[in-house]
Symmetry: C2
Subunit: 187 residues, 2 copies
């Protein structure tokens, strides 16, 4: 792994565990096993590194969601696969939790990749619901954009409930509840 890659991975890890303010250039260098000169050779500074880390994590989340949603099956099956994928509920979503980080939300540049990921995710889920509706799986009255957003919210809100409880159980319940409601919406 290149030094730049190690620096990006270390930044992802620290952003996840400590938030932007709690992540110092020194801690990044220590975790990556890289010197200060090397860090500033590859990146302009902490914000530049954070941007690279958020972009990489968002890209991984996007690929995982696309694998669930583009796979075989009916719209309901594809949404179920997305909802029921195994996740580390207590760690939470590495991108979603950045929305609660005051420094990320205050920076248009750092928020941009977070915005793009969730925008893409809602649009992707919306298109699956639309396909299901066109195929007669769902009632014609169902609003695909609203249902798409509700599915994305079930996962993100499930993380919030799990972290509040210090247990994965509320996450499992929330996604199972979303699955049963999606099934109930079949025409």
């Amino acid at each position: 792994m290149s030094t730049a890659d190690r620096l990006i991975d270390a930044t992802s890890e620290l952003l996840w565990e400590r938030g932007y303010t709690g992540t110092s250039p020194k801690a990044i260098q220590r975790l990556a096993g890289a010197g200060q000169g090397s860090m500033y050779h590859h990146f302009a500074g902490k914000q530049d590194l954070a941007l690279a880390a958020i972009r990489r994590t968002a890209e991984q989340m996007r690929s995982a969601a696309e694998a669930d949603l583009a796979g075989p099956g009916t719209a309901v099956e594809r949404i179920e696969r997305y909802l029921l994928r195994e996740r580390d509920a207590l760690r939470g979503c590495p991108v979603g939790r950045l929305t609660q980080d005051p420094d990320i939300v205050a920076s248009a540049e750092l928020r941009a990749p977070v915005d793009e990921l969730f925008d893409w995710l809602r649009a992707r889920l919306t298109s699956v619901v639309e396909q299901g509706r066109a195929a007669g799986e769902f009632e014609a009255s169902l609003d695909p954009a609203a249902v798409g957003a509700a599915v994305a919210a079930a996962v993100q809100g499930g993380y919030v409930l799990a972290r509040a409880a210090g247990s994965a159980e509320p996450f499992e319940q929330a996604v199972r509840g979303a699955v049963s409601l999606i099934r109930a919406a079949r025409s």
Copy 2:
């Protein structure tokens, strides 16, 4: 308003805006217009104040949810009232976002009131779904605990989507989507 109350309100405000680590005793005193001696006369320190602030905010959230859920109407109407209550989507949930604050989650004492609130909320939503099921509003096969968790998650996840987008729209979509799925689950 008493000095103790002003200190608690200032702490709530700062916890919401800056998180636990970003909230200094100095900033609390400044915002409350209270001196250091006065703060330490009423509270043992920052953690003690944060605990009082989290408990007060949780109590306010609980009252608001109870007002929606205990009011008149069918189970579906009561859940809709909870989901569609006007909220400041971009500010996010003052208690839910604490679950993304590493210092809150790491402290058993500070996490306790967050845990209790969401535990209560899921149980309360579950009981409304159970009542609806008993009254024949929902299919007997619907799992009340799962649906209760999914409803709580729709609101919490809606906040995450709104803050990612820098717009209230995804929140509105997520709660409308949850409402349409709950309606679809009626027997």
